[in-house]
Amino acid sequence: MTDKILKFLPLTESRYYILLALIEPLYGYGVMRKVEQLGQGAVRPGPGTLDGAFTTLEKQGPIAMVAEEERRKSHTLTALGRKVLLAQIDRLHVMALRGTQIAGRLKPPGAK
């Protein structure tokens, strides 16, 4: 099971936000807007990235289609998707922690 989770890591920044957005069922364009909001504008996935992500992630298991209304498919996280996301968040915690510890030493002396 761990191997199955590890093979998705590290997620690209856009995939990470796409999975975060899918904590609740959301259709394509809804995911796009949610990701822009979550990433504070730094990540704009674009329909090509989203379509590719939906197809691949649905096939590999982290997300599943839950509804289809008027040509718009809604996806949400599966049990596997939740585990993948949690594992990624753990890694990011370590990355941020270590970064913060070193950050003070990166600034030139005298700078605030």
Binding site: T12, E13, S14, G28, Y29, M32, V43, R44, P45, G46, P47, G48, T49, L50, D51, G52, A53, T56, E68, E70, R71, R72, K73
Partner: protein
């Protein structure tokens, strides 16, 4: 009058327009959802050719100009092309090794063989170019 070989879509769009290409083999049931997603995001489906999807939108500063957010998903587009080129490349490849050649020497067969060889070379060349593009996109 348009010169021969040129193409006009017949749709007049005022101002500059951005065109982007995606590579998708759209099966019947995937097609409406795919087109809807692009439409919602402000992209018009201008047409398709051999699975290449032509998307366009008016160029407005400050609005998204790309259909891919990152090089990783753009590289995936090129990975999707590979199986199709390999399958198309196998046909002339297999024909080249056919036992038909040499049994009855004929100039006609030689011409066919030479043509197939050229097609095969072109497909190998396109595979190399696709591979290089993926490498260019994915290298750090």
């Amino acid at each position: 009058v348009a010169p021969p070989g040129s193409y006009t879509s017949g749709v007049e769009v005022p101002g500059p327009v951005i065109y982007r290409l995606d590579y998708q083999h759209l099966k019947g049931q995937d097609r409406p959802g795919y087109l809807q997603l692009f439409e919602d995001a402000g992209w018009e489906h201008a047409g398709q050719m051999n699975n290449w999807q032509y998307l366009r939108r008016p160029e407005v500063s400050g609005e998204p100009q790309e259909i891919f957010a990152d090089t990783a998903s753009n590289a995936e587009k090129y990975r999707r092309v590979i199986p199709f080129v390999v399958i198309i490349g196998l046909l002339p490849g297999v024909q080249l090794n056919s036992s038909l050649y040499g049994r009855w020497p004929s100039i006609g067969l030689e011409i066919v063989r030479f043509t197939l060889f050229c097609v095969f070379l072109m497909l190998v060349y396109s595979l190399i170019r696709i591979g290089l593009r993926i490498r260019q996109l994915t290298k750090p």
